[in-house]
């Protein structure tokens, strides 16, 4: 019960902070002051209070996109451990459900984008489904590495205390897994070098262009859902890097929060120092990551 409470509290309370930290980091690199840390909270709050305009072309599918974009990360968060705080829900084979759950929100985000009838949004949808399709095997390969190391098909155990010993026995594999999962976090959350969350140039962006026609509470839910998705996927990377536990709930929570903020800083650094890739290079990088994750698996197979 405590786990469930802590999970939801951290997820709902902390997730918008990450984009604030990323923004601050990028501002620091650019020599600007940047928006305040809490800017995302203000944005979401403001959007929830605003009115709504929808396109004449759209149907219920368009409204379903934001609902799924918020509902799916909440449910998915219950399957992953936040640091040393175990997952409230876990069952054998939940890793498969976890991956396909995000497929559901992608399905509706893409369908909602196409529902507007705009070719820009169609472009974004086509890119999103293609890139995610290439990222999915990487996620599975990374999970299999952990499943082999822990001998379990439960996310909570795979990312559990077994990691401590695994870092000693299979360090190289785990380093590759961390790198691959980090790439997955970047591509799934539409960060540079795959997508530029700041541009509003339709030709270069993916996620932003898909939600071009959403407004008011709809858009607020999309932003909130995107923040949560970053939080949930980021939590996997953070757990891999900080596998330790102190046994004290408060201290564990703080360690996890620190880890998440550090992850946000790292994402900010990547975004500041890298340029966005050319669109046709993105699939190549994703296939490369897939091969890398498979290589980490080969290291364990010998």
């Amino acid at each position: 019960m405590l786990e469930l409470f802590l999970h939801l509290l951290l997820l709902f309370g902390l997730s918008p902070l990450l984009s604030g930290v990323i923004g601050k980091t990028k501002a620091l690199f650019a020599g600007r002051t940047g928006p305040p840390f809490l800017q995302s909270y203000y944005d979401i709050w403001k959007l929830f209070g605003k009115g709504l305009v929808i396109s004449r072309t759209t149907t219920w599918v368009f409204r379903a996109g934001p609902v799924l974009a918020l509902a799916v990360p909440v449910l998915a968060s219950l399957l992953v451990p936040f640091g040393a705080i175990g997952a409230p829900l876990s069952f054998t084979g939940d890793l498969i459900f976890f991956v396909y759950l995000f497929g559901l929100s992608r399905f509706f985000t893409a369908a909602a984008a196409l529902d507007t009838g705009s070719s820009f949004e169609g472009m974004g949808a086509a890119r999103e489904v293609t890139f995610s399709c290439l990222a999915e095997p990487t996620v599975f390969f990374c999970f299999i590495v952990l499943a082999r190391l822990s001998g379990s098909l439960v996310l909570s155990t795979m990312f559990g205390s077994v990691l401590n010993t695994a870092w000693q026995s299979a360090g190289p594999s785990l380093i590759l897994v961390v790198a691959c999962l980090f790439v997955v976090v970047l591509v799934e959350n539409c960060r540079i070098p795959f997508d530029d969350p700041n541009t509003h140039l339709e030709l270069t962006m993916i996620h932003e262009v898909m939600v071009l026609d959403h407004s008011g509470p709809d858009f607020g839910m999309i932003l909130y859902g995107a923040a949560m998705k970053l939080f949930v996927l980021g939590a996997l990377v953070v757990r891999l890097v900080f596998p330790g536990t102190t046994g004290d709930v408060l201290f564990d929570t703080l360690l996890f929060c620190g880890g998440m903020l550090l992850l946000a800083v790292v994402i900010g650094v990547v975004e500041s120092t890298m340029a966005r890739l050319r669109l046709l290079r993105v699939p190549q990088l994703l296939v490369g990551t897939m091969l890398l994750s498979f290589f980490s698996l080969i290291l364990l197979l010998r």
Partner: protein, 697 residues
């Protein structure tokens, strides 16, 4: 068994009665044909349900005058498991067809004559091809006799029931041929369209080439076991490995050509779409599964083979899955796209069953049990959601008068019920929660993970590669389904016909709704699916069946998660409604970056949606052929662009091969002189030769 005979009787009666009213009584023929189909399927469902609940087997034997043959039926759990989707889809199809066939003639009449080509247009090769294509997509105009259709429909279900329950080789082959022929006549329903007839011929050829391998199997099985009765085939269990392997390969090719496994799938994407939509549903959802039934049933008589049998199936399966889904992404004909997706799903089923055989041979019983359960559950699920999608595609055709994705658009607004049901089917086929598609795939993944995480070295390598490829297939299914939904249902109408589209009536709607509810029910109650599959597994692998009956493996967590997901969605929706307040939402135009005159011709098309995946992921041999889209100069004249994605296997392998064969065989044409006395000479000399041969023995 009594209910099964009642079903046989009703199907036969329906087939006879439907032709009586003739050309004038179309309505009466439809009523008689579909009503007897529905009643027959209900009786059949009771028979299959009794077997699945009670277990055990029932047999019926009646001598037949055919040498070696007997009218011998056997209804056991495996048969009942395959009868279940047959009767569910058959019932839904009969209900759906009652409206579909009735209105088809009317709507075609209402659209009026096709615009004839004027001289300048027809000079353009590209234009002509395009218009012909368009005409094909719209279907034929002539009003048909529905009576004959219902005869073939009832006979098709009857023969499929016989295939699944036959316990004699000759009866099986007889039913198999009836199934092929009745479905051939259904495929050429629109016989005034050259494409439909060509699809029919390809189908007939492919299915008979496959049947030849089955004849070879049954003849050798009879020679080895002494009888054509399935009961005596137990003797095949003592065969040596090479002999058994040869028989297995015969089975694989013979049934594979019917199931549409790669590379024998070439007829499937042409034939399934050419039939009326509820027949496409029956063919894609159920008929291909009868081949899987035959494979499993006859495999169960062979000795437990070496691991490479399973490995072969897995290899064919995964190649077929990847190829099928990639081709599905390139089709602009919605039914063709769905037909290719059948190739993909058959690949997945084959992959699971192959993994079962391989794991069982290697002694990994847990993985084998999961793989078998995954294959069987996916088989059942695919029957449900694929027939739902085919019927949905039929409703879209019915409403908008076209099969071309690029001529639909905006249909969700005009056909809300059909649209919702297609979205349900799309979610189910993409294996997304809370629908049933996930359950089967979850078991397949579980099986692969089970051995992939336990084994090391090369033995663990292959399952792990397959997991990655399976994930890739899953991602591509999502592309295909969002494409169909996004291009056909969403956005603005892309043609005047689509703008005037109308919703389907209650028979079509309720048939699809029933299938969609079953899909949702399977997702919410996965343990039930597992139980049903476990029943069928008792016939194939008793060890696996007892393992699956263990409650520890029950996937009730997946059902719970589906319920939780629905709860989360409802909560998020409630929150949105609360924030939105009671005021009506103001509507405005879609943001077009300030462009003032957007038209639907500017929206993303089916081809543009898959351009990126095609260039990034697909093998270049699949590249669609495009024709004439280049504009030159500052003031280019009007251009037309055509895009076609023909099957590379058909175009590059089978067509050249058969062309070569036709060339070679044309030398024999002289034999067929058309003169009676020459033919009599042939008969005479053949008789003499036979007499010599008999005398020699």
């Amino acid at each position: 068994m009594n209910f099964l005979f009642a079903a046989f009787f009703l199907f036969g009666l329906g087939a006879l009665l439907a032709v009586i009213p003739g050309r004038t009584g179309a309505r009466a023929a439809t009523l008689l044909g579909s009503a007897s189909g529905i009643l027959g399927c209900l009786c059949g469902l009771i028979a299959a349900g009794q077997r699945l609940l009670g277990g055990g087997a029932e047999a019926f034997f009646m001598p037949w005058s055919m040498p070696g043959g007997a009218f011998s039926l056997r209804l056991d759990e495996l048969s009942a498991f395959f009868l279940l989707p047959l009767f569910i889809v058959g019932l839904a199809g009969a209900l759906y067809g009652a409206e579909y066939m009735k209105d088809l003639g009317k709507t075609k009449k209402a659209t009026g004559p096709q615009p004839e080509l004027n001289e300048s247009q027809s000079n353009n090769r590209c234009n002509r091809g395009f218009l012909r294509f368009q005409q094909y997509m719209k279907g034929s105009k002539e009003r048909r006799r529905p009576g004959l259709h219902w005869t073939w429909y009832n006979l098709l279900i009857l023969s499929m029931t016989l295939v699944v329950t036959a316990a004699n080789g000759l009866l099986f082959l007889f039913a198999w041929e009836c199934m092929s022929l009745t479905s051939f006549f259904l495929v050429i329903s629109e016989y005034d369209l050259a494409e439909a007839v060509e699809a029919g011929w390809t189908y007939l050829l492919a299915t008979h080439l496959g049947a030849a391998f089955l004849f070879a199997f049954f003849l050798s099985a009879q020679a080895l076991s002494g009888s054509l009765e399935f009961a005596s085939f137990q003797a095949l269990g003592q065969l040596s490995l090479p002999a058994a392997s040869a028989l297995f390969l015969l089975l694989l090719i013979g049934f594979g050509s019917k199931a549409g496994i790669f590379p024998f799938h070439v007829w499937l994407p042409d034939a399934h779409p050419a039939a009326p939509s509820h027949v496409s549903a029956l063919m894609s959802g159920v008929m291909v599964k009868t081949a899987i039934y035959g494979l499993l049933r006859l495999y169960s008589f062979l000795p437990t083979g070496p691991a490479w049998w399973g490995g072969l199936l897995m290899g064919i399966g995964i190649i077929g899955a990847l190829f099928g889904i990639a081709m599905a992404a390139l089709q602009r004909d919605v039914k063709r796209s769905l037909a290719y997706s059948t190739v993909e799903n058959i690949g997945l089923i084959l992959l699971a069953l192959g993994f079962w055989m391989q794991s069982r041979a290697a002694g990994h019983h847990v993985a084998a049990a999961f793989a078998l359960a995954g294959g069987l559950i996916h088989l059942l699920n695919h029957a449900l959601f694929k027939s739902l999608l085919f019927m949905g595609a039929g409703s879209l055709m019915h409403g908008s008068g076209s099969r071309d994705l690029n001529r639909m658009g905006g249909l969700m607004r005009r056909m809300p019920v059909t649209g919702l049901l297609i979205v349900c089917g799309g979610l189910a086929i993409s294996a997304l929660p809370p629908f049933n598609g996930l359950i089967g795939e979850w078991f397949i993944y579980r099986a692969l993970l089970e051995s992939g995480t336990a084994l090391s070295g090369l033995a663990g390598f292959f399952p792990l590669v397959l997991i990655g490829l399976l994930a890739l297939v899953g991602g591509m299914v999502l592309i295909v389904m969002t494409r169909i939904i996004g291009i056909a249902l969403a956005g603005e109408p892309r043609s005047p016909e689509a703008a005037k589209a109308h919703e389907a009536g209650w028979p079509m709607g309720s048939a699809m709704a029933a299938l969609a509810l079953l899909c949702l029910g399977g997702g919410l109650m996965p343990a039930l699916l597992l139980q049903v599959a476990g029943r069928a597994a008792t016939m194939l692998d008793p060890g696996a069946a007892t393992m699956l009956a263990d409650t520890a493996f029950a996937p009730w967590w997946l059902g719970l998660m589906a319920v939780l997901l629905l709860g989360c969605i409802l909560a998020a929706y409630g929150f949105l409604r609360w924030r939105q307040g009671g005021d009506p939402v103001p509507a405005a135009a879609t943001w077009g970056c300030g462009f003032a005159f957007p038209t639907s011709r500017m929206s993303y098309t089916a081809e543009s949606y898959t351009e990126l995946p095609q260039s990034a992921m697909f093998c270049s041999c699949m590249n669609p052929s495009t024709e004439d889209g280049r504009t030159i100069g500052f003031f280019p004249e009007a251009k037309c662009f055509s895009f076609e994605a023909p099957d590379p296997v058909l175009e590059r392998v089978f067509r050249p091969f058969f062309r070569w064969a036709a060339d070679v065989c044309s030398g024999f044409r002289g034999l067929q002189a058309g003169q009676l006395h020459v033919y009599l000479l042939y008969i005479f000399s053949a008789t003499i030769l036979l007499l010599f041969w008999v005398g020699q023995r």
